[in-house]
């Protein structure tokens, strides 16, 4: 049943223009990260390990992801759920054996796979472009993979939140407004001490996951608390399952 329901969601996505939206997310993040290439002296120091060109690029990625992702995740969740509100899809699915909570979980599985793939693609594309402009020093694989994994977790938790909001509130303004609010919370999180960014889930965790910082002396590698991001993922999953089970018990 799950497999057919997921396949059905992918079929619905064709008319929702999900592919261009996911592409916008990837291109937006990569384009903003590429602004790093225009920094004075960056292209002259691609061979210098002391200049840490990959860390600069990672800093660019860590700035671009929270600026672009919250709004587009809100748009993706909104598009995916709005059709059920418009066409009485909740009732149709319920009489077909797919309860509202189940439908939300199916939507999360199908769109979540695309969100995770897009996040992975952003990271890989930035590495490929870094190589293309001639960065020859060793890629800091650990921080890069750690950040990519952490951002996949944060993006998925945020997407799940937007999915629940869109399912509960048919007015799309609320979901999109929350997305815009998220950009501000993320920005505020970057300027706060790390402990206080923990208090602003899930947006504050973009700042928690940031693996580099810049100061007057250049770029500094950090040791992000990945355990916090893992905790966010676990709590997010439990809340999502709990709320969608509640949807199952409510009348459509």
């Amino acid at each position: 049943m799950n497999g057919r329901a997921v396949a059905n969601e992918f079929t619905k996505m064709r008319r929702l223009r999900v592919a261009p939206l996911v592409l916008i997310m990837v291109v937006g993040v990569v384009a903003l990260t590429c602004v790093t290439f225009t920094a004075p002296g960056f292209l002259d120091s691609v061979d210098d390990p002391d200049a840490r060109p990959w860390h600069w690029l990672l800093a660019g990625l860590a700035l671009a992801v929270p600026l672009v992702s919250p709004i587009l995740l809100a748009v993706l969740a909104s598009r995916q759920v709005d059709m059920e509100h418009q066409g009485h899809g909740w009732l149709l699915n319920q009489v077909s054996g797919v309860t509202p909570g189940h439908l939300c979980r199916v939507k999360f599985l199908s769109m979540g796979a695309l969100v995770a793939g897009a996040t992975l693609a952003q990271s890989a594309l930035v590495v490929a472009l870094g190589r293309a402009v001639g960065i020859s020093v060793d890629l800091p694989l650990g921080p890069w993979l750690g950040y990519t994994t952490a951002i996949i977790v944060v993006n998925l938790v945020l997407f799940a939140l937007h999915l629940l909001v869109a399912a509960r509130v048919p007015n799309q303004l609320v979901g999109l407004g929350l997305g815009v609010l998220g950009v501000f919370v993320t920005l505020a999180g970057t300027g706060m001490p790390l402990w206080s960014a923990h208090l602003l889930p899930p947006w504050g965790y973009y700042a928690v996951a940031t693996p580099v910082d810049t100061d007057a002396g250049g770029v500094v590698a950090l040791d992000p608390p990945y355990l916090s991001v893992l905790s966010l993922g676990i709590v997010g999953a439990l809340v999502f399952l709990g709320v969608t089970r509640m949807f199952d018990r409510q009348e459509t």
């Binding site: 590429c34 602004v35 225009t38 909104s78 799309q172 303004l173 999109l176 815009v180 501000f184 300027g191």
Partner: protein, 249 residues
């Protein structure tokens, strides 16, 4: 005038006021919070506060906020049988497009008024800055509102064509990214030719950020206003031509 009044009447039942208040207030709160957490007073008084609030606000949130407002203004036309009623209207397509643009410009003005009010209150209450916001930022605010006009005209056109509420907002975001990219790396003329780049430039006016020289000269103000009016004319003409060709559905 009747078309504009009708649009304002439709606004009454939308949640546009929430956006108009929440968006600039969030920008001010974020700018103030970051300044407070840094543990420093605004080094250059009002200028630093303006810089901290408006530079980021102009790069992304303003564009996205205008896109949301445009979607809200057109939402009613896509519901029920309202689209067919619009197709059977007595006023010309140009007047419909202009009326929507005027209403959205009024909302952009309201956004800026709330922003200026918020910065003033934050400067006095949070940082006890002397005097009030310098008049040059009122002039900059006026330029920002004028620079918002081509953006709202373009977003209005997109919301007219797209029935989805969220899709035009999704278009605005890469538009804003392109605007930022052109501001930072592209030729100056190109950033003025893109509505999203133009509004970005207007919000940086007088701040010294990115391509801005830091001054508010007559030449740059006239250039920005001329570009905004020219872009608006082009977008409104295009939207009118599209509305002329669409039919009932």
């Amino acid at each position: 005038m009747g078309a504009v009044r009708a649009e304002f009447l439709k606004l009454k039942r939308s949640l546009s006021l929430v956006v108009v208040i929440a968006l600039p207030v969030m920008a001010v709160v974020t700018g103030v919070a970051n300044t407070l957490f840094s543990g420093q007073q605004p080094a250059d008084g009002w200028h630093t506060l303006w810089l901290r609030v408006v530079v980021f606000y102009g790069l992304f949130p303003l564009t996205v906020g205008l896109a949301v407002l445009a979607s809200l203004v057109w939402r009613v036309e896509h519901q029920g049988g309202n689209w067919n009623a619009l197709m059977g209207r007595q006023v010309s397509s140009l007047r419909v497009v202009l009326a929507k643009t005027v209403v959205l410009t009024a909302l952009a003005l309201a956004l800026q008024v709330v922003l200026v009010g918020g910065v003033t209150v934050a400067g006095k209450v949070a940082f006890d800055l002397p005097g009030f916001l310098p008049p040059r930022y009122l002039l900059v605010s006026l330029v920002i509102v004028v620079a918002c006009v081509p953006v709202v005209a373009l977003q209005s056109a997109l919301s007219m064509v797209m029935r989805s509420f969220a899709a035009p907002v999704a278009v605005a975001l890469p538009g804003a990214v392109a605007g930022v990219f052109l501001l930072m790396a592209g030729p100056s003329a190109l950033s003025m030719a893109l509505p999203y780049g133009l509004v970005g430039r207007a919000t940086q006016l007088g701040t010294g950020a990115f391509a801005d020289g830091g001054g508010v000269g007559a030449a740059s103000v006239i250039l920005l206003i001329t570009a905004a009016l020219g872009l608006t004319a082009v977008v409104v003409a295009g939207a009118t031509a599209v509305l002329e060709r669409v039919d009932v559905r």
